[in-house]
Symmetry: C2
Subunit: 442 residues, 2 copies
């Protein structure tokens, strides 16, 4: 509380940064939070609400009226406005409608336009506030107009000029650093004319998959990208700060999917939603665990004859699960990062099989010796060693093959691959160990 | 091969993008790759080598002489030059020394300077090529000088002007879009003078932890950040494209650590290195699996009396492992993203325990009924149900507590947490199930 009040006192209103305010708020307990939130300058409320982790959102909006929220939302750019309204709709639809009504009709139109896009489309992430310079205007006039808009505070950070013709079709992109090299007395067309290839912008279309957009940002080291419709009409732009968030979010999705957790369900404090999502995956896991138990059930007689088998059997299954997870995680991540090319499947599977075989042999020897000594039975060591080799081999093979196959079927390799893999390593682990034991020991 | 040759034919030399060339090369098999690499314009070789996944690096450099490589490295910026030399040193130290010797002495000095930094320091990621404008120069002169350097190709993309005094101490940062608003006839000092707070740049120091730098980029929506030494002397800059790579790499590290895999070891095609790293984690897992087996060993008599227990016992352990992994993954990721504040530990553990308890009760009932019917023994259903509740409860508790505790001890929560957790869920799972069975059934 003290830190926040101090921060608010020592910084003039236009020097306050929403992310710094959010950082300070996060450290407060619930009581102080509700108190402190009221001290934040009203026009920053919406921005701060978006900067905080999602679970604080309702705490923030509950402290203000629709009128206050609307005034604050008006300060945001269109992409943030849309995000705010959509988040508000999820927790309090009527309040969201009130806030929306109080917005300027231009803002309303922008929000409605952006809301039409799905979460995986580029259009959902763009802001419509773009400065477009006309091809046939003189550079010095463009700079004057640009400076005027900046002075009036109508333009946020721009470092890349989008150049359109009279029909608002995007034609070129000129970095501000390149603009400074131009002859200010000539038009953009004349300046560009000598070398039009140099100013061809990297473009995104509003219905493009956002993951393709992120890839382009990374491949071409972009700071901003114009978004156009199917006719080449300039609609808006996506900037580097969006990409930072997206790369992070996509990675989080991958991590969560591998663990059987759903990002959307976890991010609020909605325990019921999160619990349900987790229950689905736990339920599927229960089914596969029962399947593995059915395998064990086939060998009840074997275990009855030699209980040591019950003591050792989880070791093989567990090592298979771990080795398989190693292969799976590496292949899933490399697929996502584009490190595995189309015809690379064979090389990838080969690499994983070799690694698993090598470690399989190593640990087969280790556990074989341990088991033989522990139960004073050499053949038991042989059985568990063979079983270890078989299971680790299958772990490496399926750990790489499952994500590659899912990818080929155009399914996200991170979803479901873990549960398919552990089913296999459990079943193969128990079956090979108990099966070999039945054959060799009894 | 065809696509690449076509690409190279249809694009003039200065329109070729290294990342596009890398994309096309990735799709070729080994024979075509070695052939195609020779067709790439020599000055792009080093850039393409850096764009390709690490395992291609030696294939590329083996196709060229030190002289050719040196000429290509000269085209890179200092941070990429340093990366290239360091990667080359790892695979062929003598060739790296040859290439280094053939570089211009200014480049050599830059590389030596950058090599001094550790991998987790900001200095390791900066490029030293920065354009610094003097505070007491007129804006129109600065623009002329800037334009001249751009025309000569001595400056890469700039969108943020670093302003220094005569001693090369960084004083201000002015976006090029803000520069265009300035009075060109006045000096920077005079233009800034009215509002110096507005042009205070977000700065990084060369020995700062790179993760803090990445955080600042995300918090302040930066495109570039000046890097200074402890005296405020401008050393270089880090740009948004570096941040895209870093966010992705840090996420990969987390994912790999949770799976017991090491990023550095996996990225080359060095199977021995990767195999060894994986063996370490598999070895630790073997020890914990044996620990769980010792627990089962305590109940050999119990299992002997009732073999159904051996059939069902992996279910409880497996469900505990899955539920624990769900909690662990969420907490580890939220810690990394800064979503969990310092005093949030209690809230986090509480949430995970509630979720686990809820799902524990649900699945206890389900498996209790299934077990009772399967083995026609009601008390067996009770035993496994109780055991399920106990294990899922401990899974949720430890799944959240372990990463929080590691974080408090300043250890990366992603490293080792998985193996600690599965040890607990296996031991608790087997002990509670077999222990309760001993008590209740026998």
């Amino acid at each position: 509380m003290d830190k926040l009040t101090q921060y608010l006192k020592t910084h003039p209103a236009d020097k306050l940064h929403p992310s710094e305010i959010a950082s300070l708020l996060k450290d407060l307990n619930e009581k102080n939070f509700d108190e402190a939130v009221k001290h934040i300058p009203k026009e920053l409320i919406a921005d701060v609400a978006l900067e905080l982790p999602d679970r604080y959102f309702d705490d923030v909006v509950d402290s203000f009226t629709s009128e206050e929220l609307a005034q604050s939302v008006a300060e945001l750019e269109s992409d943030d406005q849309t995000d705010f309204i959509q988040e508000l709709e999820e927790i309090d639809d009527s309040k969201a409608k009130e806030v929306f009504k109080k917005l300027h009709k231009d803002d309303q139109a922008d929000i409605l336009q952006l809301k039409q896009y799905d979460d995986d489309e580029a259009g959902a992430y763009m802001q419509v506030e773009v400065y477009a310079a006309r091809l046939d205007h003189k550079v010095e006039d463009i700079i004057k107009e640009f400076a005027e808009l900046k002075r009036k505070g109508e333009l946020e950070t721009v470092n890349y000029l989008f150049v359109t013709d009279e029909d608002n079709h995007l034609r070129y992109g000129v970095g501000l650093d390149d603009l400074l090299v131009f002859d200010f007395k000539k038009t953009l067309r004349e300046n560009i004319g000598e070398n039009p290839e140099k100013y061809k912008p990297v473009i995104g279309h509003d219905h493009d998959d956002i993951k393709e957009i992120v890839k382009k940002f990374q491949e071409y080291d972009l700071n901003s990208m114009p978004i156009v419709d199917e006719h080449g009409y300039l609609l808006g732009r996506i900037t580097s700060d969006d990409i930072y968030d997206l790369i992070s979010e996509h990675a989080t999705d991958q991590m969560y999917n591998l663990a059987g957790v759903n990002d959307d369900a976890e991010e609020d404090d909605d325990l019921i939603k999160a619990g349900k999502a987790r229950a689905v995956w736990l339920g599927i896991n229960l089914i596969t665990a029962i399947a593995a138990s059915l395998v064990i059930g086939m060998f009840e007689g074997t275990i009855q004859s030699y209980v040591a088998l019950a003591v050792l059997m989880p070791i093989v299954a567990s090592m298979g699960g771990n080795a398989g997870t190693q292969s799976l995680t590496v292949v899933v991540r490399q697929l996502a990062l584009g490190d595995i090319a189309k015809n690379d499947a064979y090389r990838t599977i080969k690499k994983e099989v070799i690694l698993s075989l090598a470690n399989g042999l190593l640990f087969a020897i280790i556990i074989g010796v341990i088991a033989a000594i522990w139960f004073d039975k050499g053949m038991l060591g042989v059985v568990i060693a063979l079983s270890m080799i078989i299971n680790l081999l299958s772990a490496g093979f399926f750990g790489s093959m499952i994500p590659l196959m899912l990818k080929k079927l155009n399914i996200d390799p991170a979803i479901g691959s873990t549960v398919i893999l552990t089913t296999i390593t459990d079943v193969v682990g128990f079956f090979s160990f108990l099966g070999l034991a039945s054959l060799i020991l009894l």
